[in-house]
């Protein structure tokens, strides 16, 4: 095997090693009112944390925020932590408003309204959902000896990411619409001496789809 062939083999192995599994994404949108956003205005994306057996992942929220901020139609997004910390204790898991009426009550307190106005927030986006493993099969066994470590076998599993975003207009105190993003994918891990993970980026794909759809929502 000459140098060129060796290089090609290394490239092929690297490609195989980092190749992602397949994901299917379905996005739905319901819009009750027109929603526009001026250049100087901001939105805040907050995760719902009131579910008893799941929690909207903080990394998903920051991922949606970064997707919304990208490109020519980039939107000014206030980081979730900054917003929630500055308005402590009103946006904690047990105290955050779950309905638009709750927001009405909350902003009747001047100090809270002042802080939200200070951020120049026009829309509040509540994201609820999570990513979970729905099925798994196969097995991989690894052995260790004085000659080294080796793994053999095959594993596969399905992941499902289901998220729903409720959009509230802070200025008019109304519910504007909903966007849902459902991603499903299967990951594979064949192991022949070295395990080769072919991971389906389910959460990342759900995040990208949700972020792009939200960008269009505010056009």
């Amino acid at each position: 095997m000459d140098f060129k062939q060796t290089t090609q083999l290394i490239y092929f192995l690297l490609y195989v090693y980092f190749i992602p599994g397949c994901t299917t994404v379905i996005v739905d949108e319901v819009k009750h009112q027109a929603s526009t956003l001026n250049i100087k205005e901001s939105i805040v994306v907050i995760g719902r944390r009131s579910g008893s057996d799941y929690e909207t992942e903080p990394e998903l929220i920051s991922c949606i925020g970064s997707v919304l901020g990208q490109g020519e139609n980039g939107i000014n997004v206030i980081p979730e932590n900054d917003f929630v910390d500055r308005l402590y204790p009103w946006f904690e898991a047990r105290t955050a408003p779950t309905h638009i009426k709750g927001l009405h009550r909350l902003i009747s307190y001047d100090k809270i309204a002042e802080i939200i106005d200070d951020y120049n927030v026009h829309y509040i986006v509540w994201v609820d959902g999570n990513t979970e493993k729905t099925r798994g099969s196969g097995s991989i066994s690894c052995g260790i000896s004085t000659t080294g470590v080796a793994c053999f076998g095959f594993g596969t599993w399905d992941n499902s990411a289901e998220y729903e975003a409720s959009i509230w207009n802070y200025r008019t105190r109304t519910f504007v619409g909903k966007i849902s993003s459902v991603a499903e994918g299967t990951s594979y891990m064949p192991a022949f001496v070295v395990p080769i993970p072919l991971i389906a980026p389910v959460q990342a794909d759900a995040c990208k789809a949700m972020g792009k759809q939200l960008q269009n929502f505010f056009k």
Partner: protein, 254 residues
């Protein structure tokens, strides 16, 4: 050349043996230690115009949970420093002024709970938190991929004379999902911080709605209004008569 090869094989075997031994040792020692660390934001709430003394007992300041169940991983979780930090931040924002009091110096011989009446007459309320119970779950123990923490606090509030006003239980709950590349320590620390934020939120929003405290605050308010109104025009005896008529006599305020 053969001699060199033998040395090479020996060294390789020694390295591999060392690796296997260290792997086995790391698997055998399952004890994990966590000192909870984090920052807490200042609550956005109306200030209650009272001077408050906080009593932290040494057991509270240095609270450590040590897992004694042999079937579980041996976690040792230190939350004392963080919970003191949380209560200082939250109570500091809730009241006009807050002082941290050394409990040992405050205790009378009558009761281990009641602060000494002769200590500080400018303090309206004494606040004393205590951890009653602590529980946690790691993902391996439940069906959900989350770290969960429960803390049961006993809160006691005394007036400036050391009389118990309110005694109630407040629970804190925090959970955090597992994530790729996130260590168990980091995930549990996050769940702990969420639980402490939860107790801070409950305390700051519920405090004046605790029935006994609410009654005490109303009494204090009406008392100060009566005193303000009559003080310049009445003798001490007349003032006592008015206060008795209003059911708000508390000799400590006279």
């Amino acid at each position: 050349m053969i001699y060199l090869n033998q040395i090479f094989i020996m060294v390789t075997r020694l390295v591999m043996f060392g690796l296997v031994l260290s792997l086995l040792l790391s698997l055998m020692s399952c004890k994990s230690t966590l000192e909870v660390e984090g920052n807490f934001p200042t609550p956005v709430i109306n200030i209650i115009p009272l001077n408050v003394g906080i009593i932290y007992e040494e057991q509270f300041r240095s609270y450590r949970y040590i897992e004694k169940n042999e079937e579980r991983n041996g976690w040792e979780i230190g939350i004392g420093k963080s919970q003191v930090k949380l209560f200082n931040t939250v109570l500091g924002a809730m009241f006009k002024s807050v002082v941290v009091t050394e409990s040992e110096k405050m205790i009378t011989n009558i009761s281990a709970d009641v602060p000494n009446t002769s200590m500080d007459t400018s303090i309206d309320l004494y606040f004393k938190p205590k951890v009653e119970e602590f529980q946690y779950n790691v993902p391996d123990e439940t069906d959900i991929n989350m770290f969960e923490v429960w803390i049961k606090y006993n809160m006691k509030v005394y007036d400036g004379q050391g009389q118990l006003i309110a005694d109630w239980i407040q629970t804190a709950y925090g959970k955090t999902p597992t994530a790729f590349f996130k260590s168990q320590e980091r995930a549990l620390n996050e769940a702990m911080i969420i639980a402490l934020r939860d107790i801070g939120a409950a305390l700051s929003l519920r405090f004046i709605h605790i029935p006994e405290i609410n009654i005490w605050l109303k009494q204090k308010q009406s008392l100060s209004q009566i005193r303000k109104h009559y003080k310049n025009h009445m003798s001490q005896a007349e003032l006592i008569t008015v206060l008795l008529a209003n059911n708000s006599l508390n000799l400590g305020y006279l």
